[in-house]
């Protein structure tokens, strides 16, 4: 089991990837995962995150098997 991480829209271009796969042993928060995967990239102030397609705060815990997504403010409609 592992954690799947996805990036969308302008954030995908900024990080230069659309997906990451993360093997973790220790419990990690959304914020921890960002830092681990993007150590040289400050978290955007307006960053949004979702676990399994529901919005979560950056302090939420991510479990094995979760799909975590990072994206900028939405602009639909």
């Amino acid at each position: 089991m592992s954690i799947k991480v996805r990036y969308f829209a302008s954030l995908k271009e900024t990080v230069g990837r659309s997906e990451d796969e993360l093997e973790s042993i220790a419990p990690l928060s959304v914020r921890d995962i960002w830092r681990q995967l993007n150590p040289d990239l400050a978290m955007p102030e307006t960053l949004l995150a979702a676990i399994n397609m529901d919005y979560v705060s950056l302090d939420a815990n991510v479990d094995e098997g979760d799909e975590l997504a990072f994206f900028p403010p939405v602009t639909g409609g």
Binding site: F8, L48, A50, M53, S57, A69, P73, G76
Partner: protein
Amino acid sequence: MPIKLCEQAFNPWKEIEAYQTQTAELAGKHGATAVFVGTMRDFNQGDGVRSMFLEHYPGMTEKQLQHIVEQAERQWSLLDTLVLHRIGAVNPDDTLVLVAAWAVHRGDAFDACRFIMEALKSRAPFWKKETLVSGQARWVENNSKGYQSK
């Protein structure tokens, strides 16, 4: 309460008419229909826009729209709703979004239609990338954070 993501251009008025006609329970029962249609403009923030790409998060988009419509149905007395949103490559004058709400009374229809539209703008994971007349491409910015994570 159909919710559809459309890869092809659609005519919002024909969609509403067709849906209303096929939905026999609405005939004679609804007194009020409130509709919002969002259309792509050929001009944004001072620049001519040639085309646009609507990226979305497949799965989460449908899930969030479903949440929003269910919330509206709990909050107001509605007979039915219809939500269509375009995805992929779009051109000026194309319909981007259609929200319709049917109710017995107009207050419910108006309020629910507006609520769904505002919630969609702040919570549904869509992102617009414009290609300007100049050839330059840019992501449309949302100055408000929109969804506030607690």
